[in-house]
């Protein structure tokens, strides 16, 4: 088995992350953040901070350049829109001095009305085919229910941050990012520089989960401070800042109606969704909540409407499977409810409505039977037919994973060694290793004679942001071509070809969960999760399994504990830390069985590989919620499923007697 090439470097502490950068004369910066959920900044006085020994630069809306940010906001705005919004920043000889200086900045605020619960509608998107009212009329059984998911926080081990250093008018950012080119382009634009003047370097990063796929304010602020001080500036966020102001998975409210014939054939899917997008909308992948409603099941009458709500909380941003994770919980809980109403095996109901075409794009899928194969595989490995209490199932699809061209790859042979140059970064999933394996195989040389260079914009070889689970499927096929050329001539360069136009590429999968519920105390123990996903050809089984374990682990947290808690009267986040925001610990993690099989999808790309970074988190919460219903007879439609909800429901006689029906599958 091929283990991570950078593994030893990481576990021995030799791998350098953004916060490890130490440059001569380097300063440390801290950001002053709004203590008000909504306010006008009337006056800022930074004189005392500037006079403090060890302080080298201060920026604020009073003395900094006026730089536009997302929507109609500014980098350092005179209106602050949530607790944690950026007001000013200081660069000093140590973080402690910078912290002391922040306390010396005097700001006069005029508090304004705020809202951290409902919000105002900002943008609505509707997808529709057929007529759901007709479909509901044709139905023999209808399930109608509302589901909610909580605001979840990424909490990557490494916070956001960078070190900014100028040489003349050229800026280098050592940045913890999953999109070196995205950060380069956005920061250059904000500073009025041409893209070539900005270089972004990310040799290693401690996770991002979507929250690091765009440029955030800290990068521009660090650059401004570094320019002003004439010295390198390091600006790393702390855990509270991570939880307040560095993105989140938007909370959702989803009202669903599903209609089906007696035999399980879906006649209507109707979803009305609102989600909390925060104080302003940032870029990156959209949270597409409508997507899976349109595609996961074959149905002629579907309507999905999502409305983004603006409110006085930190902006939301892509979080591992954005939109799909939240929507999957509602859809796959409702499918379980429908199966019980119809007296059908939940898996049989899914297979009855199996979609072989992308109904949104009106095209066939490249590997149309892969979801069926995942469902059958997971049922088999889990031993679904063996009746016991507390089992649940969920399937999922994901709109990406097939590769997002363009990208360019270079391979150069030097003295029997291959140098692979790509413009992607390693978000932590291990592309160095997988790409080296591909190059070694094509070139016919041992793995240790391949070096993959990534995480630097300087060479100008574009690679995509690590988002959508697309890195390997984007770079891999181009690398095959470049390596073939290099084998012949010692040097090869290749562009990633276009994806097929006549077919749609998706990734998908299924999971089964087994839980135990202590009926007296409401304690849920997830015993086992079996997962099978379609990620095309598996290049490195260990890396795939790592993603399955990581995704399911985050899914367990999302299902049972993770939730940002806000006080609506104060506009305060009450658990902006890792003590009260409960991520799953090693003791919460069940046995995770990775049943994923290699199934090359050669219609998707020449290598037949697809992504696995995001999919494993998508169906976990629904599978667990369905298992909890099976164990207790109580349906909790609001995530996370905590003891307070379970105990209240179990003690108020909400138990259902609907039995789980199991039938044999082929």
């Amino acid at each position: 088995m091929t283990t991570r090439l950078e593994g030893a470097e990481k576990v021995t502490g030799r791998a350098r992350y953004s916060s490890d950068v130490r440059l001569p004369g380097q300063l440390y910066a801290k950001i002053l953040r709004s203590p008000h959920p909504h306010a006008k900044v009337l006056r800022i006085d930074t004189k005392r901070a500037e006079a403090l020994a060890g302080v080298h630069a201060v920026v604020s809306s009073t003395n900094g350049p006026d730089i536009s940010w997302h929507d109609d906001t500014r980098l350092l705005d005179t209106t602050v829109r949530y607790i944690g919004d950026e007001v000013a920043a200081v660069a000093a000889e140590s973080e402690e001095v910078a912290q002391d200086a922040l306390r010396l900045i005097q700001v006069e605020y005029l508090p304004l009305a705020f809202d951290v619960t409902e919000g105002k509608p900002a943008a609505t998107k509707v997808q529709e085919r057929g007529n759901v009212l007709t479909g509901l009329r044709e139905a023999d059984a209808v399930v109608e229910a509302s589901y909610t998911t909580a605001t979840a926080l990424h909490n990557a081990l490494e916070p956001h941050g960078c070190t900014a250093v100028w040489e003349g008018d050229e800026l280098t950012l050592y940045e913890s990012t999953q999109g070196i080119f995205a950060v380069r382009d956005e920061v250059a634009q904000k500073l009025g520089l041409s893209k070539e003047k900005v270089r972004v370097i990310t040799p290693h990063m401690g996770g991002g989960f979507g929250a690091k796929q765009i440029a955030w304010k800290h990068s521009v602020i660090a650059a401004l401070l570094a320019k002003r001080a004439g010295r390198p500036v390091q600006l790393m966020l702390d855990r509270t800042e991570e939880n307040l102001a560095s993105g989140n998975r938007n909370a959702t409210r989803q009202h669903l109606r599903l209609g089906a014939k007696r035999d399980g054939t879906l006649t209507a899917i109707d979803a009305r969704i609102t989600f909390q997008s925060g104080a302003y909308q940032v870029g990156g992948e959209d949270s597409d909540l409508t997507g899976t409603y349109m595609t996961l099941y074959r149905c002629g009458n579907v309507r999905a409407e999502q409305t983004a709500m603006k409110l006085n909380a930190g902006p939301s941003v892509a979080f591992r499977g954005p939109g799909y994770v939240e929507a999957n919980f509602a859809l796959e809980s409702a499918m379980d409810e429908l199966a019980r109403k119809l007296g059908m095996d939940p898996i049989a109901l899914r297979l009855r409505n199996y979609a072989e075409r992308d109904q949104s794009e009106d095209k066939p899928y490249t590997s149309a039977q892969s979801l069926r194969r995942c469902i059958e595989r997971v049922a088999d490995v889990f031993d679904w037919q063996r009746r016991r209490k507390g089992i649940g199932f969920a399937a999922h699809d994901w709109m990406a994973g097939g590769g997002w061209p363009p990208a360019t790859v270079e391979v150069t042979m030097r003295e029997g060694r291959a140098e692979v140059l790509v413009g992607v970064q390693d978000i932590g999933t291990g592309p160095r290793t997988a790409l080296a394996q591909i190059a070694a195989e094509i070139l016919g040389i041992p793995l240790e004679r391949v070096t993959v260079h990534l995480g630097d914009t300087k060479p100008g070889l574009y690679g995509p942001t690590s988002s959508g689970s697309t890195t390997l499927a984007t770079i891999g096929p181009a690398l095959v071509e470049a390596a073939r050329k290099a084998k012949k001539s010692g040097y090869g360069r290749a562009e990633r070809g276009k994806n097929p136009q006549d077919k749609s590429i998706r990734t998908c999968g299924a999971q089964c969960a087994e839980v135990e519920v202590d009926m007296a105390t409401g304690e849920v123990t997830v015993l086992r999760v079996v997962a099978a996903h379609d990620c095309g050809r598996i290049i490195n089984p260990l890396l795939v399994e790592s993603q399955v374990i990581g995704g399911v682990t985050q899914g367990v947290g999302f299902a049972l504990a993770e939730e940002r808690v806000m006080d609506e009267r104060l506009g305060e986040s009450l658990n902006a830390n890792l003590e009260e925001y409960k991520v799953a610990t090693v003791r919460d993690i069940p046995q995770i069985v990775n049943a994923t099989e290699s199934m090359p999808d050669l219609e998707a790309n020449t290598l037949g590989t697809k992504g696995i970074g995001e999919p494993p988190i998508i169906p976990t919460a629904a599978a667990i919620a369905n298992a909890i219903f099976d164990a207790t007879g109580v349906r909790i439609r609001d995530l996370p499923i905590t003891r307070d909800k379970l105990l209240v429901a179990m003690n108020s006689g909400q138990k259902s007697t609907q039995r789980l029906t199991l039938v044999s599958h082929p």
Partner: protein, 325 residues
């Protein structure tokens, strides 16, 4: 965090002369440093007492002596504690994380401040920090008190204090005037208007240790704790229970609830339901009812009532089965 001075006096007397409202003693630091980092405490100086107070756990004829500097890890692992004071070893093992238990001292554990998320947020002016009102009472109070709440509704975070109370522990306090002993049950006091802390310790005193009086064998004990996840969380509800039987009849009972009141809550009404009576499901249920009789749940913490009752019943049943079968 604000700048502070740091000293390590050579003797206990010197330390006692140095400490006061603005000069705080530092031992494990697992709570004090988090308070300082969160800007909830800003002492002018920290006085290192790590070499000045007793540590360790010793079984003596006059009882079990626990030094103030004994760590939670020591309680968890000490054979005498594990054998004779199971609830205490269990409580220690269910607290925090192994890393924290290796540093956190018993003395500091008694003195730790609540984890209420309003209290722990430096921007929020709550009653316990000298403010006018408790924002939790009508706010996000799922983790808050159902017993003895008001004016503060924070719950006491300790796991070991309920267990120590179940063994009738007494606290040895040293101060400028010498030493004094206080029953732990009296040492822990819900904060009130003129003393917004959870203990009666004065700012110029130190906790030196605890003594648990000898208890006749066999006294069985157990600590049960409900958390939001499997580990590394404070109690949503918990119970330390010690029982001794005379035949099938209950001769001695201590039931101390954790995670539901501003200080660990001795359920004397529940103990009365048990004393001199024969153990059985009905008795356990009656004791659980009695323990929560005075419960006054807030808007979001009503679930703690059935949860706490279930833990009391389970603790009693566990001990009965262990000792009477």
């Amino acid at each position: 965090m604000r700048p502070f001075a740091y000293s390590h006096p050579p003797t206990l007397d010197a330390a006692l002369g140095a400490i006061g409202p603005a000069a705080r003693p530092l031992a494990g630091g697992t709570d004090l440093l988090t308070l300082i980092k969160a800007d909830l405490a800003a002492p002018e100086s920290l006085v290192n007492v790590k070499a000045l107070l007793p540590g360790g756990v010793q079984a003596k004829p006059e009882g079990l002596e626990i030094g103030a500097l004994a760590t939670l890890a020591e309680l968890e692992e000490h054979p005498v504690v594990r054998d004779g004071y199971s609830a205490l070893a269990q409580a220690a093992s269910l607290a925090a994380t192994p890393q924290i238990r290796n540093l956190a001292t018993v003395g500091g554990n008694l003195l730790q401040r609540p984890r209420c998320w309003y209290f722990r947020n430096s921007r929020i002016d709550c009653w316990l920090k000298g403010g006018e009102d408790c924002p939790a009472r009508d706010g996000e109070n799922r983790n808050h008190a159902i017993l003895g709440g008001g004016p503060c509704y924070a719950v006491h975070p300790s796991d070991i204090v309920p267990a120590l109370m179940a063994f009738d522990a007494a606290v040895r306090i040293v101060g400028p005037a010498g030493e004094r002993w206080v029953e732990l049950a009296d040492f822990m006091q819900a904060p009130r208007e003129e003393r917004r802390t959870e203990t009666v310790l004065a700012s110029n005193e130190l906790v030196a240790g605890l003594r648990l009086p000898p208890h006749p064998e066999p006294t069985g004990s157990v600590y049960l704790k409900a958390m939001e996840r499997k580990t590394w969380a404070f109690a949503l509800a918990g119970v330390a229970c010690a029982l001794r039987f005379s035949g099938r009849k209950i001769a001695h009972a201590r039931i101390i609830l954790s995670g539901v009141a501003p200080v660990p809550w001795r359920a004397t009404a529940a103990e009365r339901e048990l004393l001199g009576r024969e153990a059985g499901e009905d008795r356990f249920a009656a004791a659980a009812e009695a323990a929560l009789q005075e419960a006054q749940p807030l808007r979001h913490n009503g679930y703690k009532v059935p949860l706490q009752k279930a833990l009391v019943r389970r603790a009693l049943k566990t001990l009965t089965e262990r000792q009477c079968s």
